[in-house]
Subunit: 305 residues, 2 copies
């Protein structure tokens, strides 16, 4: 799956991923109105609204981008109907040929991590059947529990030709509270990065490993160090745009080959119509605004090469 | 909610929690057969089987225990039908008066952590309605992302009278890979423990804070240190029984008042009928075996006082 991701990035000349993190206040009124008329102001209504919103955006951007990253929390908050909207979004994106990175940040131990791995990336056994449940292509994983939490995911990725992005240094202001603590003079995130590089070397695609990592765009100096520690690791980079990361900060995340990083933008794309820059599209044409924001983002990122 | 948990523990003289982590191979054949006859060997069939299994165990143990801890991964692996079984389990346990600790180990940043908090412990806004989705009483949370990941959960707990258990030192063999790394001569888990104590002091119930933590039974020496660092923090202790933790190891996790810790057992209770000790119950009476295992566990734990 990492080979497929890299080849799509090359073909489209677009090292980007669109974060499908729908908040109800991003969803245009006409979509909410239709959903609430059908299902009421209920969890079902919310699930329908975010699914219809996602679908229109996907239809307008899928040919420009290699991948999407739905953030499961934004669906899970609406309970079962939200999870149904997540499932529909994942399925629809895969039908459209997009690589789907499930931003699930799961992590537990042994058989529990295995259950997450199986449910999101693999197949679960029921009687004599083996069945895919959520079936994303990649998943983000939290490393706090160590190898016991990661190995079950790696095993499933190997069997199913899937991949991971393991949290190394997150984009948020307080990420340093634990991640930056010095261990023998070096920050913890570097140790985690070394571990990711080790896991990755044993699980290679053609050019890059299918064990990737997450490093926030908001910490480019750390990104530079981590790039060197993990030369064969694809870095998923959140924090561009709305969180303050700028294109010129992103260079250190890439290798000399112009590969090795994929930059995420969520509300900068899916809620583009709310920005002054794209206001002329109007709420009715929100998905066209998203398409324009994708075009602009690709151009912005490609300036750095 | 922490007051309710403490008062139930005192009343029942049972500082224990039953982990509802159903694996299909724990579920007796007659339950699987009925579920598969109705729904086939499908995700729906699996969801029905684990729900019926849970229900019978709950009916047989609810009057003896203060709380249950469903591990969401074991449901999530069966996709949407699995999540429906999780929801039914949570709702049923709450109806039975049990405190429900959702073992979800979520953790993200800002608005994303807020979405998890709202979906699991609070109410999500849909139009003019505020609606509970999963509605557990407590949730376990991963601290790797720092305060940004924890504060949205704390905010919801305060509004909704709910609580957290934040991972400090997990029970698994590789938990030390990152958690034990020395920072200025002290292991990282102590720093996390101090942070939990700080968060906790600002968010107190009557005797204990509603910001609790998780420390594995498999590391009693670390438990002793952490008990002192976090005197007002309830410690959720996994790893007793099947994972190797013994009752005599558990004393350091408790305060002088005999409170401050709640010991989890999962397969030791729910799959008791598979142990030689309880084999005489037979598969048909699996839930009675679970009840006996609860009685034995309470006795075993109370030996240490």
């Amino acid at each position: 799956m990492i080979n497929q991701l890299v080849s799509k990035i090359k073909k489209l000349n677009a090292p980007i991923v669109v974060g499908l993190d729908p908040m109800l206040n991003y969803v245009p009124e006409h979509i909410k109105k239709a959903a609430f008329e059908q299902f009421g102001e209920t969890l079902e209504g919310a699930g329908e609204a975010i699914w219809q919103y996602n679908k229109q955006i996907i239809d307008c951007v899928y040919d420009l981008i290699p991948a999407v990253k739905p953030q499961i929390a934004m669906y899970e908050q609406f309970g079962i109907p939200g999870m149904v909207a997540y499932q529909r979004t994942v399925d629809y994106c895969r039908e459209k040929g997009l690589v789907v990175i499930g931003d699930i940040k799961r992590g537990d131990i042994g058989s529990t991590s295995e259950a997450y791995a199986v449910g999101h990336l693999g197949k679960v056994t029921v009687g004599s059947n083996r069945i895919s449940a959520f079936n994303e292509d990649f998943a983000t994983v939290n490393p706090y529990l160590g190898s016991d939490g990661i190995n079950p995911f790696i095993k499933v990725c190997k069997e199913e030709n899937k991949g991971l992005f393991i949290l190394v240094k997150t984009s948020n202001p307080s990420s340093g509270e634990f991640q930056d603590q010095l261990v023998n003079g070096r920050p913890l995130y570097e140790l985690v990065g070394e571990k990711v590089a080790q896991w990755g070397e044993e699980h290679m695609g053609d050019e890059y490993s299918y064990i990737g990592c997450v490093v926030g765009a908001t910490y480019p100096k750390m990104g530079e160090v981590l790039r060197k520690i993990m030369p064969k690791t694809y870095i998923l980079v959140p924090g561009y745009g709305a969180q303050g990361g700028k294109a010129e900060d992103l260079k250190p995340y890439f290798n000399e080959d112009g590969l090795g990083a994929i930059i995420n933008s969520s509300r900068g794309i899916i809620a583009a119509y709310k920005q002054e820059k794209y206001a002329n599209f109007g709420e009715a044409n929100f998905a066209d605004a998203s398409r324009q924001a994708v075009v602009d983002m690709i151009e912005d990122i490609n300036r750095i090469f």
